[in-house]
Amino acid sequence: MVKKAITVAVGGACVSAALVLAGVATSAAAKTAAKSPTSVSCKNPIQIGFMGPFTGPAASIGDDQLHWGEYFEQIWNATHKLKINLVQGDTQLNPAIASTVSQSFASNSSIVGVIGPAGSQEVTASAPILKKAGLGFSSGSATNIALTNGSLKGYFFRDVPNDGVQGPTDAAYMQTHLGVSKGSSVMIIDDQESYSTGLAGIVESALKKAGVNVDRESINQKDTDFSSIVAKVTSSTKVVFTPFQLASQTQLLAQQLKAQGKTAVVFASDGSFDSKTFNVPGSYVSFFAPDVTTIKADNAVVSAYNKVFPGGTTPFGAPNYVLAEAWAQAATKACAAGKGTLTRAALRAAFAKTDLSTTILGTPVAFTPNGDVVGAKFHIFKIESGGKYVTVA
């Protein structure tokens, strides 16, 4: 009984001590809240944070992004006096971990800019922390429309067009070229990630407005078998729209459709733009740039990249190369303007004015005030026999 009383007493003392300290600390914190912006010297390598899912279920996307970024770092550092250095932050596509990683970037005074996060969920989770720290951050794969509604103006940028551009383009092409009209059937399958559900939702509403019968289905990114969904595809289904993030899932779905003798055409979004992985003839893919692998100059880049990082690439990789390029160029400009020193605010402002006339994406890259890429346009590709991608629109 006495022991219990002592325990309670000491416990109470601890709690009150903690409370007192809390009061002291919060008042102290309030005073030191406003910190002056730190600046880094341009003589040292410029540290750029790189957030992405490098391990975990989405590792295939994140690793590819990281390798393209690192490849640019190697090329740039070999030919420029101003060096850059990418600091990795593995988020495992978990928004809570993304918060912690962005906090680590924010508190690291030598980091002046961030590439990433990769997923729209993670952008939402990290935005308050990164914005409070004055860091500009740019994503090569977060396409949720809401991210560039103005609340992150000047802080968030992306060099891939958002779902609001891709959705209507795809829906329009289906109606004009694939025989989808009032009364015909289309199946839309999403993979339960925000990239996919956003795009699927836009296409669904566009088609429904035109009077098309839409059958909305769903898979999981961890699924390896689509026979059950394929069985639901009827002979009157004209198009199966599959905005998946993983090209291998699109390939498997298309193969299983063929194996079960279905005549529906597979139409995929930019996540499946990968001629090595997705190559079932007769399918369609939409992508925001003319084919990277057919531009002569890019051939050299891609084969050099494959030498350093063998094992294939995904469509999410090249945009991160361009982002690293944009940050490097912005750092050069800001260092020159700041006479050898660089602050986060100055780099952010220089990044917002990025104007790359040629990139390996095949399109010029510049940003609108809200952070989207200027002149976003989607091209439609058809897969011919042999797995070749041919531009049709």
Partner: protein
């Protein structure tokens, strides 16, 4: 031979027939001799409460000595994990029920707070009432989940709770299109994969919590309150009956304990703690998503709990510190390199006797390195012209011993595979062969690190955690602060 005598003079002669002294013989023999033994005895003399007070003071000092937001954030995350592990400790450690769906309660608490304090349903309730309501609701949910599970034991309970956990993730991920059996239109309850975003921060007595430091203190206070509550419950009749269920539930039932009801209480209590933690989590992150509450989080909480010792309160603190802080520290390549080399050195020092063998092994590793590098450079200078991943002074120094080709990925992979084979071989061979093999394995370790592992710190981090888990659990199966138990299967 009254037992009173033995407590006065326990040292010299074993007193025959005195139970306590004889019974503690094994424990005394296990204790080390020399300085380590003295240190162990000194540590044992400190009362348990003293450790908790020391921990509280140390934790409270953290935001005062550093203004680095990242460190405070890691401290906050560690406190969240400690809270979760504490709740899980009640279910797994005290009552012995394997609950694999625990993170669903965490998520329920977080989503509950988010739905009542954001623009999802346009509600902004006062914080204190939300906290109480959400904690009670999550406890009720735990109660409901445990109801059909009463008849299930062991692994069957595990599977049903696992289903429930997965069910939660699926429902919240697709919760923007919930229909009642397909008849009504889709209702948006959880906003699907986009999550619930603008969650309001805590507002205690009219004062909104804005800074990271204030959240850290609130988390610390929550933790202390829950810790005290759990400690008091543990020492009460309910706690003792939970422990008896864990040891042998059939015997407990025969002794007249309401086993089913106690299981329900354990579940509900654990779920309530998780719900409370969820609210804290949601308010700091200002956003909740379904992927926050999936299996990887569950695995981390379990690793923390069992590494620290299931059933031990101090173990929860130690486990969370070890697992979470290690995970974060290993993110930075430089820190990871130092930890890697320190761990190798510490293992060698702890295991290699006599001292001259240790010296010989280290020296022969250097010599081996110089020889190999010289030979490879002589054969083909290009094969050694690349750079390792380790930067700075240490990196330049390592380049002299390690022949790294300009494209180290393939060679690094082979070195890694050889390293794993070598380490496994080391555990089976006899002493003489082991001492001969050690320099080779050490060299392979350094080579694999510099040529491959340090290039991918995110992947290496997880490999190292996996190895640490295997080694620690093999060395101390009861957990760091757990007590050895004999399980009746």
């Amino acid at each position: 031979m009254a037992t009173g005598d033995s407590e006065a003079a326990p040292t010299t002669q074993p007193a025959i027939g005195v139970d306590e002294w004889v019974a503690s013989h094994d424990a005394r023999r296990d204790r080390g001799v020399g300085p380590v033994g003295t240190a162990q005895r000194a540590v044992d003399r400190v009362p348990k409460l003293g450790w908790y007070v020391a921990f509280t003071l140390a934790a409270a000092m953290v935001p005062l000595v550093t203004s680095n937001g990242y460190i405070i954030r890691v401290g906050f995350d560690t406190l969240i994990y400690m809270l979760l592990a504490l709740g899980l400790n009640i279910v797994v450690g005290f009552a012995g029920l394997l609950d694999l769906g625990y993170v669903a309660f965490f998520g329920f608490g977080a989503y509950g707070y988010a739905m009542l304090s954001s623009s999802q349903f346009h509600q902004r309730w006062p914080t204190v009432s939300v906290l109480i309501l959400v904690t009670l609701a999550t406890a009720a949910l735990g109660f409901i989940v445990a109801l059909p599970s009463r008849r299930l034991i062991g692994d069957y309970l595990a599977i049903v709770t696992l289903f429930f956990g997965q069910l939660f993730v699926t429902v919240t991920n697709n919760g923007d299109r919930i229909t009642i059996l397909g008849f009504t239109r889709g209702y948006n309850i959880t906003n699907g994969p986009n999550g619930i975003a603008d969650v309001a921060p805590f507002s205690i007595f009219g004062h909104q919590l804005e800074t990271l430091e204030s959240y850290y203190y609130v988390a610390l206070i929550f933790f202390l309150v829950v810790l005290s509550a759990v400690y008091l419950v543990n020492n009460s009749r309910t706690g003792r009956s939970w422990r008896s269920i864990r040891e042998d539930s059939l015997a407990a039932e025969l002794m007249g304990m309401p086993v089913n009801r106690l299981k329900l209480y354990a579940f509900a209590f654990g779920a309530g703690v998780a719900g409370l933690t969820g609210t804290l989590f949601a308010s700091l992150n200002t956003a909740v998503f379904s992927s926050d509450f999936d299996t990887p989080t569950l695995i981390t909480v379990y690793a923390i709990l069992i590494l620290g010792g299931a059933g031990s309160l101090g173990g929860v603190i130690l486990g969370a510190l070890v697992v979470n802080v290690t995970l974060e520290v290993l993110r930075t390549p430089n820190h990871a390199t130092w930890i890697f080399f320190t761990l190798i050195l510490a293992t060698l020092i702890a295991k290699l006797r006599p001292w001259w063998v240790l010296g010989a092994v280290i020296v022969s590793t250097f010599v081996l390195g110089l020889v190999v590098n010289a030979v490879v450079t002589a054969i083909n200078a290009e094969w050694a012209s690349g750079h390792g991943a380790v930067r700075g002074e240490l990196g330049r120094w390592l380049d002299r011993f390690l022949p790294i080709p300009p494209d180290p990925m393939k060679v690094g992979n082979w070195a890694f595979i050889a390293l794993v084979a070598g380490v496994l071989a080391l555990t089976v061979v006899r002493t003489l062969w082991r001492n001969l093999l050690l320099p080779v394995v050490l060299y392979l370790a350094i080579y694999a690190w510099d040529a491959r592992l340090a290039f991918e710190p995110s992947i290496t981090r997880l490999i190292m955690i996996g190895v640490i888990l295997i080694v620690l659990m093999n060395a101390r199966p009861q957990g760091l602060l757990g007590e050895t138990r004999v399980e009746i299967v």
